[in-house]
């Protein structure tokens, strides 16, 4: 099992990192909290990458990881990881304008319970970016896909503001676009879950990196706090969790790309491992920062918020463990 990135993947990673480091500073996340259009310019720099959504999953994960490390507040996940593959699965010709970067979209599946299973409820929940994309693809109980322009939405306030989530009322006029089979929808969600896990690993690593740097520079008792063993051992455990989650994500991506029979288990493992890593990095990250980490002025909470919100999206860590259990017993 070869984990090395190809030259093309390295190039993708480096250019994404470079661009995001400059174009998506924490100040943008703060501006976006009050005004969602603050990230529009960033989105226009990133919409070239939408075709990754229907390409090899390893490449998509490389890009998502970079987005996660800056908590990019753009509708990439909704457009590239959910909407484009749904259009592709139903053979919708509008896919081209999405891949060109001209149109954005998102997908509405979950009902009131927040679980992404097709259902008959007309009010869909936890729909990412619903108010700022061109079309919402609503999937009903039998897989019929309806494209809705500007349906009634209600923002669900969560801890995180970088990826706004909405309730969407789907019993409104729209365009029937076809039917997605259960297997095809499962495939889309499997890929999207692994991609989201990659993004979470990026966020977890960012939290870890910030904390490691702080542990090296913050002086107490005349020494860097990173020389205290209680702090060192927390950091060692954080880094272990990030490393294993990274590996689990790319293993899952490789398994999906290869059509390997282990891919469904690997997806659950990836999302759950990323959830554990993100949660530990968030909690211990704040602890190691002490009081400064508890302030709005410090940037840490921006990533803490994104980490916790992502952990709850497309199945919590506990949900993925439970679904894994279904496959083990």
């Amino acid at each position: 099992m070869n984990f090395s990135l190809t030259d093309d993947q390295e190039l993708l990673r480096d250019s994404a990192r470079h661009l995001l480091e400059h174009q998506c500073p924490p100040a943008l996340l703060r501006a976006h909290t009050d005004d969602l259009t603050a990230a529009d310019d960033l989105w226009h720099l990133l919409d070239d990458f939408v075709p990754l959504g229907i390409g090899p999953l390893v490449d998509l994960c490389v890009f998502m990881e970079a987005l996660g490390s800056v908590a990019a507040p753009v509708p990439f996940f909704s457009t590239a990881c959910l909407y484009a593959p749904v259009l592709e699965a139903i053979g919708e010709h509008d896919l081209d304008s999405v891949l060109d970067g001209h149109a954005t979209g998102t997908v509405a599946v979950a009902g009131a319970d927040g679980v992404w299973h097709p259902n008959a409820e007309s009010r869909k929940t936890f729909v990412p970016d619903a108010a700022r994309v061109d079309l919402v693809a609503a999937v009903n109980a039998d897989g019929a896909v309806t494209l809705l322009a500007a349906p009634p939405v209600r923002r669900i306030e969560t801890l995180d503001t970088t990826r706004p989530l909405y309730d969407v009322e789907t019993a409104v006029p729209g365009t029937s676009a076809g039917v997605i089979s259960r297997a095809a929808l499962d495939d889309v969600l499997l890929r999207a879950t692994v991609a989201l896990a990659a993004e979470m690993v990026g966020t977890a690593r960012r939290l870890f990196d910030m904390t490691l740097a702080y542990a090296k520079e913050r002086i107490q008792f005349d020494v860097p706090i990173g020389s205290f063993q209680a702090v060192q051992h927390k950091l060692a455990d954080m880094s272990l969790d990030v490393e294993r989650a990274w590996s689990a994500v790319y293993y899952a991506a490789m398994a999906v790309d290869a059509g390997d029979p282990d891919r469904t288990r690997a997806m659950h493992v990836a999302k759950a491992a990323a959830g554990e890593a993100a949660r530990r990095a968030a909690k211990d990250g704040i602890q190691i920062h002490g009081g400064i980490g508890f302030t709005m002025e410090h940037d840490l909470h921006l990533f803490l918020r994104r980490a916790l919100a992502s952990e709850a999206l497309l199945g919590t860590t506990g949900d993925h463990h439970d679904r894994l259990a279904e496959l083990l017993f």
């Binding site: 090395s4 060692a236 290869a258 439970d322 083990l328």
Partner: protein, 390 residues
């Protein structure tokens, strides 16, 4: 990135499987993940024969040349070998010091005479033990005090070793001694080869908490060791404490992870037998174990990828830490699932002849021996993450 290792591995694996099907003795096929003694011998006869058979067919250390029990296998082939053995639960040897630690050190640092001892160490014809730990030198190994004073063409050794695995059955010992008490502690240590039948050695077995007497205290009183038995230079012993199969290190985790996976399968079976297979808490905890083992396997392969490309692979410490800790948790869960029967080792009343409680006991050794979990975290923090020492 890709999942498979390419075509040269397929033929290699097939050859190994054919060999194992033909030669592996029945005792290696029990797929047990626990170490209860099925014999009053520490190294039973079948295990000796099996190790020699592996050596003679070039399957003992595949990365070595044939005269050292191998077949010049590539790193990827070596990994495949370790995977296949681990998946089948087949041990190479029941005494690791000789082939895994002593032979590589002798080959790297030894004189021609000392290097000539390596094949027998690998084949298992000579049983070796490692005399590192002392009552006052455990994690702080460099604090060892066993003293060796040169007197003409011999050293006179006095001191005490402890936790010395296999001391009671070993013919030779890799003995770490202090040869310069005035130098800084890492700089006054030397490595000697000790014949275990030399006068002045008193071996007192210590019993593991699971009941096996596999290690011992070793008292050394005016023991004479020829100067020719000094390995490497005088006072240069510290760097040889790190010796192990460098080219296998990136794959040695496979065995630990495979054992975790077998333990998880065992937990699922156990939950069915105990009528708790539908208990949501039991199910979730077993799935968590699966997730942690699976993510560790992926991390192991990632580390192997860096290693095979010649980069440093710090994953070794992560793997040691995480798999030993997870093992302990899984056996504990196995006990918990049995409720009041958790600690039962009575074959008639308990599950699987005490598999869970006895394995739980044995699993404590894994978070202590070879560097405790706390020491692994120190290593990760200081050598991998670059944090300052206290």
């Amino acid at each position: 990135m890709h999942l498979d290792w390419g075509p040269d591995v397929v033929a290699f694996r097939a050859e190994l499987v054919a060999f194992l099907d033909e030669h592996a003795p029945p005792q290696t096929r029990t797929r047990r993940d626990f170490a209860t003694s099925d014999s009053d011998q520490i190294i039973p006869g079948w295990a000796k024969e099996w190790q020699a058979t592996l050596f003679d067919h070039g399957w003992m250390i595949p990365g070595y040349p044939p005269e050292l029990g191998g077949r010049n296998a590539t790193p990827v082939q070596t990994l495949v070998y370790l995977e296949e053995m681990a998946a089948r639960g087949i041990p190479r040897s029941l005494h690791f010091p000789g082939y895994a630690i002593v032979a590589p050190s002798l080959l790297e640092y030894g004189t021609p005479e000392q290097r000539a001892m390596a094949p027998a160490a690998i084949r298992g014809d000579t049983v070796w033990c490692i005399g590192m730990s002392e009552p006052n030198a455990g994690s702080d190994l460099a604090g060892l005090q066993t003293r060796a004073v040169q007197d003409g063409d011999r050293f006179i050794v006095n001191g005490q070793k402890v936790w010395t695995s296999y001391a009671m059955v070993a013919q030779r010992c890799c003995l770490y001694v202090r040869t310069d008490p005035d130098a800084p502690k890492h700089k006054g240590i030397s490595l000697l080869i000790l014949d275990m039948d030399t006068p002045g050695i008193d071996i007192r077995p210590l019993t593991h908490i699971n009941g096996n007497a596999d290690f011992a205290e070793v008292f050394l009183t005016d023991v004479e060791v020829p100067v020719a038995n000094l390995v490497g230079a005088l006072n240069d012993g510290w760097r040889m404490t790190q010796g192990s199969l460098a080219h296998e290190r990136a794959g040695l985790w496979v065995e630990g992870v495979a054992r975790l996976e077998q333990t998880i399968t065992g937990l699922v079976d156990l939950a069915h037998r105990r009528g708790v297979a539908h208990d949501p808490i039991v199910r979730r905890r077993i799935a968590e174990g699966y997730q942690r083992a699976a993510s560790l396997r992926a991390l192991g392969y990632k580390g192997f990828t860096s290693f095979a490309q010649g980069a440093a692979a710090p994953e070794h410490s992560y793997m040691k830490l995480a798999s030993s800790e997870l093992g302990k948790e899984l056996y504990e869960l196995g006990m918990e699932i049995q409720g009041a029967y958790g600690p039962v080792i009575d074959e008639e009343r308990g599950e699987e002849a005490g598999r869970w409680p006895l394995s739980f006991f044995v699993s404590f050794a894994n978070t202590i021996a070879g560097g405790t979990s706390e020491i692994q975290r120190n290593i990760i923090a200081q050598r991998v993450l670059g944090l300052p020492r206290a």
